[in-house]
Assembly symmetry: D2
């Protein structure tokens, strides 16, 4: 059996789309068939979405994307005004992005571990596995503990996940976890600095959940921090109302996809005749045929009045291949040239806070 040190040797490296001009390659794909043509059309739609400066771009993240080497893409999109809000699973934002922001890494696992042959050994070594990737569980416990500290530092009241994640950004900023201080850039930090709100509608379902449980347990009935998921929904609906033209760039499906699509209906319920999402792209390997939302087509969402049919594209591909092409295409065509940051956090700071 190899040692823990031997197994955790080769860190995942995040791809830098700025280094790879894929414009000609993606242009060539547009006249082919199947996923390449879909990728080409998705790249066109993302470009359109960005050139439409009225459009607020909502990035949705499901699946283990940061651990897979896609972190820098999302950081670059935020820093270049190519994303105005993020809706994500908790794992991507806390267990993976914030975790790396604290200085930790994900590691390449050998092919022989992919299908579970070594899992009993890994358990003994406290190495967690995500398909072909390793994590040091002891480092993950430090991440849990950090969210616990942040929770304890807050005034007891209900918070949206967005407010809580903003505090995580402030923590990184104050504690020298920034490129300027020799640390690394991260989604949580970039979003904090650029006033890009991040929502995790199932926020307790991640490393932060462990911190929150420990916090509430210690308080035993005394006033404590809570995470109000209804407030998340209310806040993001306010953004739709304030900025009616919207587009979705979705990686994976799940709760983030559903949550972001639903804000059209929620605005309607608040008495605002909101337009459907004007642009929508989803990259996924999920299958439509079990009826689950993750693989449901964007045409199906149009029957619900959530997504407009004109500029929508599903790309059936694993994201580590398709996203560098789509995001890289828009970046190298400089689609973001005329965009300014929407600083949506500032709109949300005016939503009343209630105990």
């Amino acid at each position: 059996m190899p040692t823990k040190k031997e197994l955790l040797q080769r860190p995942i490296q995040h791809i830098d789309i700025k280094q790879h001009n894929v414009v000609a390659l993606v242009d060539a794909m547009k006249d082919m068939a199947y996923s390449s043509r879909d990728t080409g059309r998705a790249a066109d739609i993302y470009e359109m979405m960005l050139r439409d400066t009225d459009c607020g771009v909502i990035l949705c993240l499901a699946g283990s994307l940061i651990s897979a080497g896609l972190q820098k893409i999302f950081v670059d999109l935020i820093r270049n005004n190519m994303v105005d809000a993020v809706v994500s699973t908790g794992a991507n934002i806390v267990d993976q992005d914030f975790f790396e922001a604290l200085g930790f890494n994900h590691y390449v696992a050998g092919d022989e571990y992919k299908y579970g042959a070594g899992d009993a050994d890994l358990r003994e070594l406290m190495i967690d596995r995500i398909y072909d990737t390793f994590i040091d569980e002891e480092e993950l416990r430090i991440c849990d503990e950090t969210t616990h500290q942040i929770t304890n530092s807050l005034e007891p009241r209900p918070y949206s996940s967005r407010e809580f994640i903003r505090e995580m950004g402030a923590y990184l900023s104050k504690n020298g976890k920034t490129p300027q201080a020799g640390g690394r850039d991260s989604i949580v930090l970039a979003a904090y600095e650029k006033n890009v709100p991040i929502f995790c509608p199932a926020f307790s379902d991640c490393s932060a959940g462990f911190g929150l449980v420990a916090h509430q347990h210690a308080r035993q009935g005394k006033p404590h921090v809570s995470i109000d998921s209804a407030k998340d929904f209310y806040e993001i609906t306010q953004l739709k109302i304030a900025n009616p033209t919207t587009g979705l760039l979705m990686i994976g499906g799940g709760v983030p996809k559903n949550f972001a699509q639903d804000i059209v209906v929620a605005a309607d319920i608040l008495g605002v005749d909101a337009s459907m999402h004007k642009y929508a792209i989803q990259i996924t390997v999920a299958d439509a045929r079990d009826g689950a939302l993750s693989g449901s087509t964007l045409k199906e969402a149009s029957s619900w009045g959530k997504v407009d049919l004109t500029y929508e594209q599903m790309v059936f591909s694993e994201a580590t291949i398709a996203l560098p092409l789509i995001a890289g295409y828009a970046f190298h065509k400089n689609a973001q040239a005329a965009r300014k940051g929407k600083s949506w956090t500032q709109i949300l700071d005016q939503v009343p806070v209630t105990a």
Copy 2:
């Protein structure tokens, strides 16, 4: 174009496993290969889980399962002490189960609608589509409005989704939405009556979310109801601590799978040396190869210390085919004979409530 009435003619009928003795069929599958053998082994594990009367059975639901005709299976499992807690997406519990409890139906859609060819027409008619199934959006709005009323009737404070869903059960009970009063049985009602807690860790991501947003909007800064997702996590962890032997019956993946698996770690963080889930079954069509949790194998979960390797089985099948076989097998072998209801809600009623 057909009329709305013509399109909404043939209601989805829920399969009744009590009517179909599949024991011999499933026994025959055990000596075959691929998904049939996996189905056979999953049925064996579910039987074992139930005969182990110490075992608390947690049912996890993701995907559109109630709209697909599986509601009665879950109701029967609850009423026969074959499930002790439920973790679900909001859509299954509110938009689909509670919706049908209010007297509404899902409808069979013609094959020609499956791939989106009629979605523009459906939009006009206010018919929502889930793959091959239709919903009357006007009826869904009544469901949203009902959750709004329930929210307004509550004392303003943070609630776990479990507490809120219990109020939904009380609403059904009080308002004659029961078989005794001529209504139909439902998961929310059965769980209410049997003291089976239901958790929706992303609770605002459904019809109830619309009711909550409307409520919070109307309150404009005044005290209001909030949904504390950390409290959900805290509560379910208490169950793991109170009842250390646990088994998971998972349909689909997503947030419910992750949330239920995580309670082992959460108990550990509260200082309790919790055992891994002793039994675990997952029925899914998701693919392991994109690294997303929904399709990740249960062996992978064992590297995280969440699931024991001895009695775990993935069944790669669409649930409407595999679940009637697995649940029906255990039922007709009378695996539940010695089980009594664990009434887990009563444990949770002792968790302190904090404003």
Copy 3:
């Protein structure tokens, strides 16, 4: 490392649809959603196809189906006049069905072998693996050698695979490999006795190919047996011309699906205005989205003029689960009551043989 004997202990058992009346179960599935409803509709179409006594039913087999425990279903369909011709990959017919007819078995492999962890050990033990199933390679070599002997016994000329497989049936009949002689029933034997032609359009791509290569090698330029794949296509086209109403029951895709669909066009090329296949069912897990034929929908085939749109159904399910339901449904509804064997081999015996 376990011994070979320890690993080859538990033979695959073929499911017997005659023992499982699934009519009520499948009827219940018709009002559900997703794959269950598709399975229900496929069962209806198979029933219709059989009650239409004019209809010649062509069974197409791709994937490792016999090794998976489905052999007896196909034998029963042939013996009960529910199949009039078979188009298959060579592996199903020779390496698996004829192999079992010779007295050998496939074996259940432990779950831990599924993903390849033990393949190096298996290689050493001469055990071949098909996903979760084992084969004794030494027994497979005996099967190769038997086809070699059969080849050597034939008059040197081009044969259709259909003619060759008929000789394999004769071999079984003459050599006591029949239930009457204490052996087991098989597809090759049942088809021989019922005059049901079997075509393997890629016949050298299996155990028989090894026998043929050995034969041709030994002949070194002298007259020898050859396999004329054009003759296969010619023969099956004659069947379409002689019996215009046809239906397809397809398990998997690949060459068998394409070959059987193509006979409509081939008849047209011979100057006969052939009707499209009137009924078509395909059970598959393949995906339409890579454009490959295996997962292409039957609607797509209708654009080619091969399959009529009225009675076609794709069932996206692994076959070991779906086929017992579909075939068992038709059998227990006695849809075959009025059918007589079409004895299509007799039509083909009139096709001229040319050196």
Copy 4:
């Protein structure tokens, strides 16, 4: 309903890997996860395979690849000595490559046709559909007719598909279907000129099958051309014996994958102790979990003694995305620098021809 002319307006364009240097992009993928890392490793293995000048590279093609815009990649691989033999489904070689060589095109279909909504209209217009691609059926009939003419021009005897396809190459060369004569390059032509053998083990299952059926029908018992699939297997086995070090570059699975893997066993049966394939790459979207060969892992093939475990890589991706990266990587690293054409056809010309 649009006219045929309106629908067939935008020809599929074949991607030119020579124009896209993807080396840095693929290098970046090697330190990521999931399919990107697999793609990176597959590119490394293809590079290794080419730098090993002893290695005979066998390209296997299944799925509709030429119609999808991948034709030029295969032509470039052949012309640059990066492929020494081809094993393919008939459709890729005859209906698609030879078809384009005759001057015809495949066409981009609008997204609204993908799921079959317009298939009845297409049928009327004689437009055939492959998922998102159109073909003019009248042009396809000219292709069928051309193979009929070629068949009629041959001396009556059994041919391997390899011999027949070589005659198709000669036809293109003689009839001005070459770049020099103002035509276009094609796989069939390039292989003819470079002495690269092409095998279609299920040769009658394509447009050539129609020509052969028409030929045999017209001959009515007189001597005619036949296609000896056993001879195909014998010939390719001779190549393995003459050139023991081999590598497989497989796009899709099906018959080509099985056939190419089997030659190791066939050589053994001829008394030659052949080594396993030293290198193997497969790009596929197929699933391992139905036990079918198309998605079976290369580890599984190692249990059969067909593929060595050291340098094998599955890439779970649709080929139009992954192949330009893998083939382009090897090309731009100039891995082919020291390779000379193996001209394998010349070995096969010495295999005795028998009537």
